[in-house]
């Protein structure tokens, strides 16, 4: 099959931090031409997030090109152009890029673009068919429109910090920036639907994406349960109301664990056989799911008395072989070495002028049968400024030089 799904689609990425970038990655992995606009005078905070790849030259400053955080989120092909919007010349170039583009993705708090005259109305004057996707924490209207939105806070605001924990302790976050990775799928869908619609109708649009609103779309059952049954979620550690054994069990080794979930009575019989049918499994207490859930405490102790004899990989293999859900509680090393993720070539090694060779660059978590996701090392600030000005905007060399002297490309 010829071509890439978004071949010919031109995107401007004006996004700080996570959400906007994750959103546009889906298009850039699959054929869109994406230009990232940024300035070293006010860098993306993510370029300043530790950990940093070490430098071999003593005394060399860390700079903007060594953040693991930045590099691991920018794995799709991008061009980089540097524009300092404090100069009118930079705004002029930006507008020329808008005229060229199909999509502008923007991720600043409400007000930043508006003050520059670069809100949707402003962009539409330059390109009436433009699709503008704006993402921020709380949406672009309302009393919190101009609040910066950080994933770690939006995770709490969207109830996601109330879903992991023990009954006798405060809840813990499911991950550090959870909504940063959960909300982009909706923004990406919106852009793709907008491109599809534009192909059929010629009309562009403005998309207002709020992390809080996209995040809450994952939480609907809890919101309905509260409304009709007046019930908030009660934290249960690793237990299930319907199934047992269901939990995280200690294994042989230092801080090694396995997840086991026996989801039906049939799976229970397979589980019993797989662990060698010890006498305790014949107790009537464990004959049905309801009863196993009731005697969960003692059941967990008995299951763990078996798992501690094996490394988690062995438990995973023995139980999955028997048709019972089990998996290593994977740490950083385990996911790096995971046979399944590596079968899908999910860790790509790439060389980077500042970071050297690393094998942690991911494609999109989507495998299409007719086309592969393109993966590329992260773009550096302004890496392709000259190329973009010359090849895409057709600017003569001396104009580029003159603007450079004025600091337009800083």
């Amino acid at each position: 099959m010829n071509g890439k799904p978004f071949e010919g689609v031109k995107i401007i990425q004006l996004c700080w931090a996570g959400v906007g970038v994750y959103t546009l990655n889906y298009l850039s992995h699959f054929g869109a031409t994406t230009i990232r606009v940024e300035t070293a005078t006010r860098p993306d905070p993510v370029r300043l997030f530790a950990p940093f790849a070490p430098t071999s030259r003593e005394g060399e400053p860390v700079g903007l090109e060594r953040s693991a955080f930045f590099s691991i989120t920018h794995t799709a092909p991008e061009y980089g152009v540097s524009l300092n919007f404090k100069h009118p010349g930079a705004l002029d170039i930006f507008k020329r890029l808008v005229a060229w583009a199909d999509v502008v993705g923007e991720g600043f708090p409400t007000g930043v673009m508006d003050k520059l005259g670069l809100d949707y109305e402003g962009l539409k004057k330059v390109n009436p068919q433009i699709i503008m996707m704006r993402t921020c924490g709380y949406g672009h209207t309302g009393p919190m429109a101009d609040q910066p939105g950080f994933g770690s806070i939006l995770t709490a605001v969207t109830m996601m910090d109330t879903i992991v924990g023990w009954p006798d302790r405060p809840p813990v976050p499911p991950s550090t920036y959870y909504t940063d990775q959960l909300s982009p799928m909706y923004a990406s869908l919106a852009i793709m639907a907008a491109l599809d619609y534009r192909r059929r109708t010629g009309q562009g649009q403005y998309i207002d994406h709020a992390q809080i609103e996209a995040g809450l779309n994952y939480m609907t059952p809890l919101i309905l349960d509260y409304q009709v049954n007046h019930r908030e979620l009660v934290l249960k550690g690793n237990r299930s109301d319907h199934a047992a054994p269901h939990g995280i069990y200690r294994c042989k080794g230092e801080d090694r664990w396995v997840a086991i979930a026996v989801m039906s009575d049939g799976e229970w019989r397979s589980f019993v056989k797989a662990i060698g049918s010890p006498p305790w499994t014949r107790s009537r207490k464990y004959a049905t799911a309801t009863s196993r859930v009731r005697y969960g405490d003692e059941l967990d102790r008995l299951v763990e008395a078996w798992t501690v004899n094996f490394p988690p990989e062995a438990v995973q293999e023995i139980l999955q072989e028997a048709g019972v859900g089990a998996g290593v509680v994977a740490n950083a090393r385990d996911i790096d070495e995971d046979p399944q993720l590596n079968y899908y070539n999910f860790y790509r090694e790439m060389d980077h002028p500042y970071m050297g060779k690393l094998r942690y660059y991911h494609p999109a978590p989507i495998k299409l049968s007719a086309v592969d996701a393109a993966v590329q090392r992260p773009v550096m600030v302004g890496e392709h400024t000259d190329y973009i000005c010359k090849e895409i905007l057709g600017m003569p060399g001396e104009e580029i030089e003159r603007l450079r002297q004025q600091g337009v490309f800083e």
């Binding site: 889906y26 530790a50 790849a53 639907a193 409304q227 048709g323 790096d336 049968s369």
Partner: protein, 415 residues
């Protein structure tokens, strides 16, 4: 926006949200249930706690907007009807164990012969290929192998999974995006394709920066530190874990504590508020916020700062702290539960909640509104989830079955 597309949805509970998201953008999504109703309908929570397949709240949540037909795709007659539907559809969504549909003669290669433009999106824990392809993929197992369990929890207890089991929604939402990518590709080539989405990979993206970064660069294996998930480096080069969640008077708040020049003004004004409470801020009376960050702080100083902040938050309620944050742009947010979120001022101001009628229950329920707001029409929930086989008549008549044939199929329990 997508009303020109017809999607056949064979997914189970873990991937309901995929078709739901596509329906939010206007696609016609037809949920195909087993005769008698989808198995997921029978497991709670239920409306007013009455166990009834037509009162299932998870079903309501992630099948809203869809139509429902009942069809036994394992029977010969059912297969024949399904193939007819495929002839007039754009997309098939499914989340069976890999190979199940192939075994029925309804795999991608079979369906693409009937309709070369058909897109099949498969959502599973681990993917259609590879050594784990036949693995059982319950939520806790996929989450563990995806790397999100090991770092969640307290260091003196086992790692933790989620009590609200939604992990497969990450794979399913990537399935929705993958479906759109394939539709876009089809617009260029005229051909459909098979989209393979694995929740494990979607989870791996979530842990990339926090967990894989330190490992790839330094061979570090991040462990669990309760609520203290934000890592910083102190003056002595040691790692300090500062809490993302803090206890307040009526629950918890999240704080994103940035110690850098751009946050200096906020930090200074937060200190002023803390002093107003009569809390002694000690060292931080004279701390140069504009020029110094974590890398200049000693461990006792970092611990003192935690103590000062901890005292302050305990003095206040979530709603007071939200107000303070909004007025002063502090990077602070309440840890909301369902009660809190339903009265969250920003969402009220944006008219976020949508009232959806459930005539059979004589009730109107509030649903989260659209994940985006656009200038090309409303995106989001529009109508309640379908009853079992509610649209059998409409859909089967549409592919040319007569009333008599439909009645016979019903008797044969095909539909």
């Amino acid at each position: 926006m997508l009303s020109c597309y017809r999607i056949l949805d064979l997914t189970g509970e873990k991937a309901f949200i995929c078709g739901r998201a596509l329906s939010d953008f206007g696609a016609e999504v037809i949920k195909i249930e087993k005769p008698g109703g989808d198995p997921a309908r029978f497991r709670g929570p239920f409306y007013k706690d009455v166990p009834d397949p037509e009162r299932n709240l998870t079903w309501f949540a992630f099948n809203a907007n869809k139509k429902s037909i009942t069809l036994d795709i394992e029977s010969d007659k059912g297969k024949e009807i399904f193939k007819k539907l495929v002839g007039k559809a754009d997309v098939v969504l499914e989340s069976f164990l890999p190979g199940y549909l192939d075994g029925l003669g309804l795999g991608y290669s079979d369906l693409s012969k009937i309709n070369p433009g058909i897109i099949m999106t498969s959502i599973t824990g681990f993917g259609q290929q590879g050594p784990y392809r036949n693995y059982k993929d319950p939520d806790i197992v996929v989450r563990a192998l995806g790397g999100l369990v090991y770092t969640a929890g307290y260091d003196d207890r086992p790692p933790l999974t989620v009590t609200y089991r939604h992990t497969h929604a990450l794979g399913a939402m990537n399935g929705a995006v993958g479906t759109m990518i394939a539709l876009s590709h089809r617009a260029l080539t005229g051909l459909g394709q098979h989209v393979d989405c694995a929740t494990q990979q979607a989870l791996d993206i979530v842990c990339s920066a926090e967990i894989e970064g330190p490992y790839a660069l330094f061979g570090q294996v991040p462990t669990r530190h309760g609520r203290a998930r934000a890592t910083v480096t102190l003056a002595d080069g040691s790692t300090f874990y500062n809490p993302l969640l803090w206890e307040c008077r009526d629950g918890y708040v999240a704080l994103n504590l940035l110690l850098n020049p751009t946050a200096a003004r906020n930090n200074l004004s937060m200190m002023a508020f803390i002093k107003k409470d009569g809390i002694d801020i000690g060292t931080f009376e004279t701390w140069p916020w504009e020029s110094k960050g974590w890398e200049n702080m000693s461990r006792p100083q970092a611990e003192e700062l935690m103590l000062v902040l901890g005292k302050f938050f305990k003095n206040h309620r979530k709603d007071e702290l939200l107000k303070l944050a909004t007025e002063n742009r502090f990077q602070l947010g309440p840890c909301n539960n369902a009660e809190d979120i339903l009265k969250y001022p920003q969402l009220e101001a944006r008219g976020f909640w949508k009232e959806i009628e459930h005539p059979e229950l004589g009730a109107t329920l509030k649903y989260p509104g659209g994940a985006v707001v656009t200038t090309q029409g409303y995106v989001g929930v529009k109508r309640r989830a379908p009853l079992i086989g509610e649209h059998n008549g409409e859909i089967f008549t549409g592919i040319g079955l007569t009333g008599e044939e439909i009645a016979t199929l019903r008797k044969q329990k095909v539909i």
